[in-house]
């Protein structure tokens, strides 16, 4: 339960971090909040020869709403984003999802970028990123490229980042208009990894038709899942009970959950449909639509 020996570089700029990566290659590992990496070190499941600490990189931990886009530095703390003024009013699913991440002491240290690059398929940030079409900036000595969230997640704990790249910035465009969102998940205990979870965002037209639907799921595959089939099933329709139920059923065909000691594959699929129905219903209600609007 003690980490093996390693070297340590406290980077004060992205350039210093890139220099350290260039020097140590794949023997180096970037350290952000450490809430996943340090346990892996303690279990000796990760054995890097050098840790490159990003916590001292000036200006990398920013979090702000800029013209309807949530702009985050890679080391923005989850707790900072959770409490960002105006964010809950603008996009409730983000704040609701963060509240499921571990506990306050974890979120005080844990970073958005760390969660994204760790790419645990049961983690919340990856699903938020794919549901909201976040853009991720990857910086290397070759320059900075922008990776769409849906191309970022490859498989379990695997992203499309190259070994010489550092995730530096995340931009989450927040949908405009008459919209609502919700994030629901089920875990055995509060703060544990989700058995399954769903983030839903719905935008309605003036007559209550769903014009834009976003669904991101966790815990049901080797990476976060964007349920585009279920989204299409709902788009252009009044999201009444029947339409929402159909979309939720469509989710079952878009996921390939695996069973483990915590839940069987069938149970996870069942949870995904139930949680999708509830999350979409809540999102529609928050957008001021659904059963009430349909009856009007």
């Amino acid at each position: 339960m003690k980490p093996p020996p390693f070297g340590y570089v406290a980077a004060t700029s992205v350039e210093e971090a890139l220099d350290a990566l260039a020097e140590h290659g794949d023997e180096a590992k970037l350290l952000a909040g450490g809430q996943s990496l340090v346990p892996l070190l303690a279990f000796r499941l990760a054995r890097p020869s050098v840790l490159v600490d990003l916590n001292g990189v000036d200006g990398l931990d920013g979090a702000a709403l800029e013209d309807g886009t949530l702009v985050l530095g890679a080391t923005a703390r989850e707790r900072t984003v959770e409490r960002l003024p105006g964010l809950a009013e603008r996009c409730r699913m983000i704040v609701e999802a963060i509240a499921h991440i571990g506990h306050v002491a974890i979120r005080n240290r844990g970073t958005v970028g760390g969660s994204l690059v760790h790419a645990d398929p049961a983690a919340e940030w990856p699903a938020l990123a794919v549901a909201l079409d976040a853009e991720l900036d990857a910086t290397s000595k070759r320059g900075t490229r922008t990776i769409p969230a849906q191309e970022f997640f490859v498989s379990y704990f695997t992203t499309s980042l190259e070994p010489d790249e550092v995730l530096t910035r995340i931009r989450v465009p927040l949908p405009n208009g008459r919209s609502g969102s919700a994030f629901l998940e089920l875990a055995r205990r509060h703060g544990d990894f989700a058995l399954a979870g769903v983030g839903a965002h719905v935008t309605l037209t003036a007559d209550g038709t769903a014009s834009d639907v976003r669904l991101g799921l966790i815990g049901v595959g080797d990476r976060p899942v964007r349920a585009s089939g279920a989204e299409a099933a709902l788009r252009g329709r009044i999201p009444d009970e029947e339409a929402v139920a159909e979309a939720a059923e469509a989710v079952a065909g878009e996921i390939e959950p695996t069973g483990d000691i915590h839940a069987s594959a069938d149970y996870r699929r069942h949870l995904a449909t139930v949680l999708t129905r509830r999350a979409v219903t809540a999102a529609v209600e928050r957008a001021g639509g659904g059963a009430h609007a349909g009856a009007a």
Partner: protein, 163 residues
Amino acid sequence: MRERRELALRVNGEDRRGSAEPRTTLADFLRDELGLTGTHLGCEHGVCGACTILVDGRSARSCLMLAVQAEGHELTTVEGLAPADGPLHPIQEAFAEKHGLQCGFCTPGFLLSVHELLAENPDPDENEIRERLSGNICRCTGYHNIVQSVLYAAELLRSAPVA
């Protein structure tokens, strides 16, 4: 020969120095290098909450930070809640009064988590208390008396705030 780093940090209002290998957790540094053994280690991988301290005023698992990361930061451990020869902090007093501990192993982590909670919200309801303390595991009490202790601590602090 393993490299050791010199560290300077502030702990419980005092400037402290010490040295640590990069792999040494902040929890082990506090206990073994600074002699502050009030910070307890249960699981050593961020699950049990016993090692919770405040880093720059915010709760953190000291087993999930490296000692070298604390350079220049300000920490509060359980030893910093009340003077060694003075009265208990109201949160400690409340835990003693309401039987919020039995063996006491998990208590330092609870006290610091509660300290952060009550600084943010001086009047939390029972649900908020239970959710906030869900990251601190106690195997003795069943939590009922811990929740009662926090409600009582909040009451004490509202009537006589501590700086």
